[in-house]
């Protein structure tokens, strides 16, 4: 590195003219200017991860809370299940007095669906109970990544920002390290005991909240069992006498038989996500999970045989014409869930929570509707190999410009929302105001139409207890979901960087962005498997191998999360 290039990093860069001169000089001698600026020594842009002893210093203490004993305890990384409703009179109190200071907080959050009006009874009741005047800035969840980048680049960052893990692309992780406050001084170690409900959040979820060496994010704890489930129409399967296929080949054979395009019936929707699980492909959610130590070498998911096999099988489904034509169109084709409930497809894959969501939605519209998740099978019909997903993948941050009082109000809000099942706080957060948003019928809380519209989306990410599934009005579904997680959890392995939040170096952070498009092209027969192999070798030479060494060093220096 030349002295010229070195001088262009650091404080001298502030001067417009000097930096131009330095850049011109640097370009003239052809030095790697980019490399010079990567390090920078700015605390805010810290790359890498934090684990082991370093993490132990900043992680909050864990104090279990047991208000209601779960009807189904957690096992194999599953959520806990609550199948019984708790009568209003027996609800416990976990937050004894109004915790907030009465201050104001602006919260930007993704919202899937139509956000309610800002002054609805649910928000008002929440504000009153928490003692914080929250103004919601609900943004469309589907295009949240586009909005997020612009908001973080502006000087008007809302006090609190919710960031889903799948939006942590490109430079967003470094933006988070630069723009959001360190919560360590309020939560590390025993300090969290001021917020008992947050103290009951599992440590592995907190570990995910460490961004750039500091505890910045309030995590939404999640089961580490894969969240994607293959869901099928149990009622239609029974009507036609089908049994659930037990291997990829069986599935293909069944799909060909079941597809009847003439009567607008296709066997399945896009099954790519299912294929990844069936063939044991490393998890595709969080970038760090793409890597796993195999033997003595770190291997990326796109380099594996399983990846190609999964794509090839999905391609066969498309080629056989058993996939709904609208699914071929991707996003423009509309929502897969609607095709499923309309009976145009028999199988689709989605977050396992759709099992409850669609059942609850269809209960009033189609009395015969019945669905279920089926168990993953391995490539040969035996046991599958599943890879764990991150134990928290949605985070809530508070701006580093917020006052101390605002941070405390924010934590009070999170502590309130993290109240476990069986508390008054939980009922208010999850069901809203009794009599307005829900009514109790035969001992079961049932949301009114107003409740369905308003108690939905907001307060979902600002603090949560350990993973739970609680649908007392549909106890069978609750049981089915938890047990599915437990069965799948038995086959689930953790890859090398499980549980860690990794900030990749900016120069490589876009490297793998286009694989998803390529996958979609391959399964639809527009590109070949050999194109994937070509893309992988391009990826290696454009920085994939460098990234491998970088991750290797991270592993050697930090160890894994466990």
């Amino acid at each position: 590195m030349t002295p010229n290039a070195a001088s262009s990093s650091g404080p001298s860069r502030r001067g417009f003219l000097t930096s131009t001169a330095a850049a011109t000089a640097a370009v003239a001698v052809g030095s790697p200017l980019l490399a010079a600026c990567g390090g920078g020594g700015q605390e805010g842009r810290k790359e890498g991860t934090t684990s082991g002893k370093e993490a132990a210093k900043i992680l909050p203490a864990f104090v279990a809370s047991s208000v209601v004993t779960p009807d189904i305890p957690a096992k194999n990384g599953s959520a806990v299940g609550f199948t019984r409703a708790i009568p209003t009179a027996e609800l416990k109190t976990s937050v004894p007095k109004t915790p907030g200071s009465g201050g104001k907080l602006k919260i930007m959050s993704p919202f899937w669906g139509t956000p309610p009006k800002g002054d609805n009874p649910y928000y008002t009741a929440m504000n009153k109970a928490v003692g914080v005047d929250v103004t919601w800035q609900n943004q469309d969840g589907v295009t949240y990544d586009q909005k997020l980048g612009a908001v973080l680049a502006s000087s008007e960052i809302p006090d609190v920002v919710v960031v889903p893990g799948w939006n942590l692309m490109g430079r967003i992780p470094s933006a988070i390290n630069a723009k959001f406050a360190d919560l360590g001084p309020y939560l590390s170690g025993d300090k969290v005991k001021d917020y008992p409900n947050l103290a009951a959040v599992p440590t592995e979820a907190w570990q995910r909240g460490i961004f750039g060496g500091r505890l910045r994010g309030i995590p939404m704890p999640a089961p580490y069992v894969t969240d994607i489930a293959p869901l099928y129409r149990k009622d239609l399967f029974a009507k036609k006498g089908y049994t659930v296929p037990g291997s990829p080949d069986e599935f293909l054979a069944w799909a060909k038989e079941a597809t009847d395009a003439k009567s607008k019936l296709w066997a399945c929707d896009d099954m790519k996500w299912t294929a990844f699980n069936v063939f044991g492909v490393l998890s595709g959610g969080d970038k760090a999970l793409w890597w796993n130590l195999e033997g003595d070498k770190l291997v990326n998911r796109v380099e594996t045989e399983q990846y190609l096999e999964a794509l090839e099988w999905t391609r066969k489904l498309y080629a056989a014409g058993v996939v709904h034509p609208d699914a071929v169109q991707g996003k423009a084709g509309g929502d897969a869930g609607n095709r499923f409930t309309a009976g145009e497809v028999l199988v689709y894959n989605q977050n396992v929570s759709d099992w409850w969501g669609k059942t609850a939605e269809q209960r009033t519209q189609n009395a015969d509707f019945e669905m279920e998740a089926f168990d993953y099978f391995g490539p040969d019909g035996g046991d599958p190999t599943l890879w764990a997903v991150q134990p928290a993948n949605i985070f809530t941050f508070v701006s580093n410009k917020a006052s101390e009082q605002q941070v405390k109000d924010f934590l009070a809000l999170c502590n309130f929302c993290a109240a476990p099942y069986g508390t008054k706080e939980f009922m208010l957060t999850a069901y809203g105001v009794e009599g307005t948003d829900y009514t109790v019928e035969k001992g079961l809380p049932v949301k009114t139409q107003q409740g369905v519209n308003e108690v939905n989306g907001a307060y979902d990410y600002t603090g949560n207890p350990a993973p739970y599934i609680a649908y007392p009005d549909l106890p069978e579904i609750t049981k089915g979901m938890v047990e599915w997680q437990q069965r799948m959890g038995a086959f689930t392995k953790k890859s090398s960087f499980f549980g860690l939040t990794v900030t990749e170096p900016a120069r490589w952070s876009n490297l793998a962005d286009d694989f998803e498009q390529l996958e979609d092209d391959v399964v639809r027969g527009r590109k070949k498997i050999s194109d994937v192999q070509q893309a992988v070798s391009d990826w290696r030479s454009r920085g994939g191998d460098g990234l491998r060494d970088w991750y290797r060093k991270l592993l050697d220096d930090n160890g894994s999360a466990d």
């Binding site: 370009v27 980019l34 600026c37 967003i172 169109q329 084709g333 590109k527």
Partner: protein, 354 residues
């Protein structure tokens, strides 16, 4: 036949003196209301007395100020942001994205080198030009034809209804347009399902990358061709009826009248729009293509605008995207200058004159 020869002679005799009067009046005829005499001197006086002109046009100038300000703030100031194309810009480096421009390191032409070495960029350029040429041939003439058609309808009510029906799709969003096409031509659309019910093989026009460019053009025609006729209708309405009557008197049939009267009247407008269209050649639709990206894949659907969006907004590679946008702007400027020159050579006004 013999009847028509007589009027022809008379009309010629009547119109030619008028024409002469029109063109020569200013040079040798007596100046009507002193206008002619003012010509040369007014020009000189205008140059000198800015104050007088200001006093005269003050109100008009003041009225344009708000619009000028808007243009300045939203069209010209952002141009300065293009400097990030010469940087490794990171909007999160400092307090806000604007200040970050001053703190991001300069990299000279590195982003441009990256772009020119990127096969995906050239692919997007190729797709853009293919789509542009296709739309020029298949889309551009449609509004003209429609305008002629509407213009030939005499009954006002039929005309109004036809116009309204043609304008309507312009107000639909692209999501709706794509959905309508999907419901008709998609793999589970009306046509495919009807075919299947009658024992034929269904088809799917929406996911075929080979014909995607025609599909996109068809969608554009359906959505915007009706709207495009407005300009041409305006041009047509300014054609004096005398000319048609005169041509009819001379025995010109429908086709001859269109060829010799209507089309020459439209020529300047067509030339103008053509020049503008060529200048816009690299803008072939954004939302429409982005929406159908997954349906046909990147190879068929990536154009310059979606490429810039994908790299800039999706991947947050702002400098790279800015550089690609800059290249697009420069090429577009070159195209519009060339097209304007060609228009001048053909004797048309084009967008501007020297």
């Amino acid at each position: 036949m013999s009847h028509s020869t007589v009027p022809r002679g008379t009309t010629e005799a009547q119109t030619s003196p008028q024409d002469d009067g029109g063109t020569t009046g200013t040079t040798k005829g007596p100046a009507p209301s002193g206008k002619g005499g003012r010509g040369p001197r007014a020009k000189k006086a205008g140059r000198l007395a800015f104050r007088i002109r200001w006093r005269r046009d003050r109100a008009l100038i003041l009225m344009t100020v708000p619009a000028l300000l808007l243009v300045l703030v939203f069209n010209y100031v952002p141009i300065l942001g293009n400097v990030v194309a010469f940087q490794d810009y990171d909007p999160y480096l400092s307090e806000n994205g604007f200040v970050a421009i001053f703190e991001s390191p300069w990299t000279g032409f590195e982003q441009f080198e990256r772009i020119f070495a990127d096969s995906a960029f050239w692919h997007a350029v190729r797709n853009t030009f293919v789509l542009f040429l296709l739309q020029l041939v298949l889309y551009f003439p449609v509004p003209i034809l429609l305008a002629l058609l509407i213009n030939s309808v005499v009954r006002p009510r039929v005309r109004a209804v036809a116009q309204a029906v043609m304008y309507l799709p312009h107000f639909f969003s692209w999501v709706l347009v794509v959905t309508v096409f999907m419901q008709i031509f998609g793999g589970a659309g009306i046509i495919a399902q009807t075919l299947r019910r009658h024992g034929y093989e269904g088809f799917d026009l929406m996911t075929n990358p080979e014909i995607f460019k025609y599909l996109v053009t068809a969608e554009t025609v359906w959505k915007d061709a009706g709207w495009g006729i407005i300009v041409f209708l305006a041009a047509l309405s300014s054609v004096s009826n005398d000319l048609y009557e005169a041509a009819a008197m001379d025995g010109a049939g429908r086709w001859r009248r269109m060829w010799h009267v209507t089309l020459p009247a439209l020529r300047p407008v067509v030339a103008l729009l053509l020049v503008l269209r060529v200048g816009d050649a690299l803008t072939v639709g954004f939302e429409q293509l982005l929406l159908q990206r997954q349906a046909v894949g990147v190879d068929a659907s990536e154009v310059l605008d979606t490429y810039v969006w994908w790299n800039g907004i999706r991947n947050q590679d702002f400098s790279y995207a800015a550089a690609a946008g800059l290249v697009k702007g420069v090429v577009g400027l070159g195209l519009v200058l060339t097209a304007n020159k060609v228009a001048h050579l053909m004797g048309e006004q084009g967008v501007y004159k020297k």
